[in-house]
Symmetry: C2
Subunit: 352 residues, 2 copies
């Protein structure tokens, strides 16, 4: 089992074009110093042979190191959600390290806009050829995108999207559809005459996301002409006490709530409240495979979790940049993750 020894690659092209490999190389990397005539001739041969450069040799010979920055929220006490994308980033890193690609992860505090800004500034000061970023704050991200455009640095949005900023790619959920699926699951066994409660717990960040999810959720009922009575509540503090206070009030006003839909991963806080107040008959659905949520899934307090393979997201985000920067292959602008349904029965095999 030997490789075929037919002279391959650049050498073969050079032989056929009657030039040296250096000249072929110049054409391949469209550098200057080649006459139009020979350039054309070489390009024809390249096409004819359907030449694919040997990545091994290429990366081995190249002294360049490509640096990619990943900007994601740090794991907080509140949620360990971002552990998963981080794992994905690390997995991708390990895989492409041998190609001379270096990744550096920057963490910011999800509850602190300044931390986001300063992290971005730090990244821009560094010499990175590509950036993977979770665009948590819209205005700051816009500025960042402008800077990247100026320096021709490709960037990929992770987990939530901000359209029209010319990102290389968006990798994350289709928010509308996620809400849609949530509605389906929630009403699967719900009485028609019960009310539904939409709960949005967050400190005013990525409104855009929640809005899209809620649209999807309501869209489901619109599509089937089922005008359910839907109550909604925004809670701007994320601690248990605040959430409990607000929820107590809502449940006091609405005695006949049969189901609750939480628009993000903080569903475990609601689960905790429902359990403590002996309201576990209320169907509960939320997002993300984080430890607290899973334990309430186990206890039957949360009925379903909707997940979007966060680890896979991290992995794909880095790989998209790798494809662009190293392989120079086209990258699809939108990469929607599957909308996974996780229950008590299948969670143990769930792979982020």
């Amino acid at each position: 089992m030997k490789k075929e020894s037919t002279s391959q690659g650049v050498k073969e092209i050079a032989r056929r074009a009657n030039v040296s490999t250096a000249t072929v190389d110049r054409v391949l990397h469209n550098r200057t110093g080649v006459s139009e005539k020979t350039k054309k001739r070489i390009n024809e041969i390249i096409k004819e042979l359907d030449y694919q450069p040997n990545l091994l040799a290429s990366r081995l010979a190249s002294k360049k190191i490509i640096s990619i920055a990943a900007v994601i929220p740090k794991v907080s006490e509140e949620t360990n959600f971002w552990e998963a994308p981080l794992r994905g980033v690390k997995r991708a890193e390990a895989e492409i390290k041998q190609y001379g690609v270096h990744t550096q992860v920057f963490f910011f505090d999800l509850n602190d806009k300044d931390s986001f800004s300063s992290t971005i500034a730090e990244v821009l000061r560094g010499d990175f050829q590509g950036v993977l970023i979770s665009p948590s704050y819209i205005e700051e991200t816009k500025k960042f995108a402008a800077q990247c455009a100026e320096r021709k640095i490709p960037f990929v949005f992770l987990d939530s999207d901000i359209p029209d900023l010319h990102s290389l790619s968006y990798i994350g959920p289709h928010l509308f559809k996620s809400g849609y699926v949530g509605a389906k699951l929630l009403t699967y066994r719900l009485d028609r005459n019960k009310k539904i409660l939409i709960i949005n717990i967050s400190k005013e960040i990525d409104n855009f996301n929640y809005q899209k999810i809620e649209e999807g959720f309501r869209g489901y009922f619109a599509d089937r002409g089922q005008p359910m009575e839907i109550v909604r509540i925004d809670i701007r503090e994320t601690d248990y006490q605040s959430v409990a206070r607000h929820l107590t009030y809502v449940f006091h006003l609405n005695k006949d709530i049969g189901a609750a839909f939480v628009t993000n991963s903080r569903v475990h806080t609601v689960a905790s409240f429902l359990k403590n107040s002996h309201r576990t008959h209320v169907s509960l659905i939320g997002f993300d495979f984080v430890t607290e949520n899973v334990s309430y899934l186990e206890n039957n307090v949360i009925d379903f979790l909707i997940c979007h393979r966060p680890e896979e997201q991290g992995y794909r985000g880095i790989m998209a940049l790798y494809q662009k920067l190293v392989v120079n292959a086209p990258v699809s602008k939108l990469s929607y993750m599957p909308i996974d349904i996780v229950t008590k029965e299948n969670y143990e095999f769930y792979q982020n």
Copy 2:
């Protein structure tokens, strides 16, 4: 951005040990021709430096081609299920081709034991260093495993497992749990006093799989002490006419069937029957993201499909062999795929 020019790898080891790179190479590949003394010295340095060979250079320099065979059923009119694993295999192939790994796919007829045997024989005649195989026929697979063991060829089982044959790895679903999830989904909105029908359509192949799935299905009710009335039927012909005939009979005998569970991807045949006989009020669940099934999902005839990322399976199967043969890294013996729940609402984002 330059790579650190510190002399790396084998050369550095050689320098420290005061030998040539050839000698280090001999130690690394434990070939003969090195005295115990120097061998020990070199090994110590290797450990000290935590030397990781550069795969790029290694594969580039090596003239060896590694050949992997993949043995899977061919796509039939009956089902296009195996398209997905094939895609996965191709994807893996494209990725590792540059490392001098060559894959060849062999197809057999799922309904023809002889075709399976002869394909296996063909593979064994060829010079392959690893085999990925869908072990459809148990006895034949046992013989195959014995032959592989003799020739020290690692093999990976795909989609269904036969334990105790010392496969390098099993990549596929956890069958028991899949049945368990099916039961949960089926009964989610089922009347207590309705009967459940288990349908097994197949020509006697991989009994083992169906048995495990059914165990899981029944296990769900056992766990909750819900003694549902369960009717089961085995159908040994896979064409629509035969299935319809058998089902007509069963539904005639049992007027109060509220839900049906099909143990494999042939659920679309049942869906067709239910639709034709105006029995779409019966909940229906089955397996696999194949075209026909998806269309019945769209029509609301099939409620849920349970899927196991077949493309991912094919991909991982090849990559497991790659890990073993090229990287020489350990491979986990069991790799259970997630149990995905696919509905009308989320199927469009399902990624095999």
